[in-house]
Amino acid sequence: MSATTFDGADTRPISHRHSLHRQRVWALWGSYTALGVFVVLFLVPPFYMLMTSLKSSAEISAQKGNPWIVHHPTLANFWYLITYPNFQTYYLNTVIVTVLTVVLSMTIAILAAFSLARMGFWGSQTLATGVFLTYLIPASLLFLPLFRVVGFIGLINSYWCLVLLYPTLAVPFCTWIMIGYFSSIPKELDEAALIDGAGYLQMLFRIFIPVAMPGIIAATIFAFTISWGAFLYPLAYLYTSNQMVLTVGIVSDLIRGDVFEWGKIMAANVLASLPPILIYAFLMDYYVAGLTAGATKG
């Protein structure tokens, strides 16, 4: 363990073992305490989000007592949102856009990664590097020219433009993850498949996709996260509430002028954050593995 020191070893040889053990226990409890402090600090905003979402508007504006705890919990904010047609639309739009984005991104990424990792063609190395370099052209540089492009296609104020644009944010990294996983599959496996008369697509579906399933899960979660939480493109291209997605809908619909209905805003935040939190709760290990696999190899 890197945190243990050997300083006391020379001066007190008899108590060596004992002090080493004690230092180790101290380091362990020190680590737990420090981690506990960080966890509390990190969880302050989500906690306050949850508390506010359970408060009535009257309780928020009364400003009496401790704002960090809820005195008269109520589900009125959640009920209001669930029955609020605009919020239902935002949720539905977000789900549609996210599902389509994930399917589209994963199809593109898997096909390309299979080709780049295994088959190769003239310039495929350059392409693999080039795809990665698209991260150097961020969305905040592209959204203005894309405003003209989207206008030209006729998709301004339509959530379909997001289905076209979100994959550009997700595909490069998904491709990169998949290249890593596909490359780790032994070459003997596809040679055997070729000898048995399998075509390339059969090889992809029968061997590569099942074997690289952890990578596919990681890449899918990544694409999901990107399209569920993206904010800039919908803010720039959508302006009527029947087309909006959750992030923009909450910011622009529930904040009207100077009237902030914080209880409802926070309840909407909770509802909108639930799907990502649930997905991470169950599949976090895959995601972390996928994310770090690439980096630790380099």
Binding site: Q63, F121, L127, L291
Partner: protein, 315 residues
Amino acid sequence: MADGTSVPVGVMTSGAAARPRGSMKQFAQRRSTIAFCLCLPLILLVAGFVVYPALYAIYLSMLNKKMTAFVGLSNFAFLLKRHTFQLVIFQSCLFAITAVVFKALIGFILAHLMHNIPGKNQRIWRGLLLVPWVIPLALSTLTWWWMFDPSYSALNWVLERLGFDGVPWLGVGWIARFCTITVNVWYGTPFFMIMYLAALKSVPEQLYEAAAIDGAGSIQKLFFVTIPMMRNIIAITVLFSLIVTFADFDIVRILTSGGPEDMTHVFATYAFQVGIQSGDIPLGASDSLFMFPILAFAAFFVLRGVTRRSKEIAA
């Protein structure tokens, strides 16, 4: 598209007996054609929605506001002379560099703390620490805004209980700058933590044992074993975070919209204000193009790391 090309290879190898050399070449050709077709969706996507708009941005930036006349570089010259834009450059660099330094430091400390505790407990702690990163940034920034709210600030309530005065969080330029950076550090630290934790786990235990036998203390182990072994991953993580932080839009847009007195504007939010809200797309495009030289500088280093890894894959 690809279905037509998935003819079983067995069909081709039947002809191979007659003309082994020629069909080998044919096989390779066919193989690379299929490979190219599989990459085609990716190429079209990147070309259509990344490369083309990027080039189009350069063209747009040289037009006048109504996009009727070519004005050369005068948009860039105009921006550089504006006081607001000078603030934007300063705040963007301050925001990105400060936030990345703090994220890297806290992430490093957290990764070490995590590495100290037994493996079976790490999962739950990691899960709790990843929460900031899981909630969509736009939504958690709204929560921060609510905590900073001038009249209802829950943070000020705590400060007042502790005997301090309330702070006008988003009302004063430098405090607002501090707030935007805080939110970014809160959001981005978990990413550094998991990357560094993975790197720590990949350092062989024997190196520490060897260092201990040589009489190295924990500080020496940190500087002569841990950090050199993690150098690559630290560089890549920092550079990527630098790119993402530099291009950040959500936090500043929601928290302050650039205010007070344009002191918190970054390139992205200023481009949005000029390009979408004021309708001057060329000026906004030239504003966001200022990001490129800085990102290209980072690109040089990333590219070095990436090619090193590509070679490893090929090997």
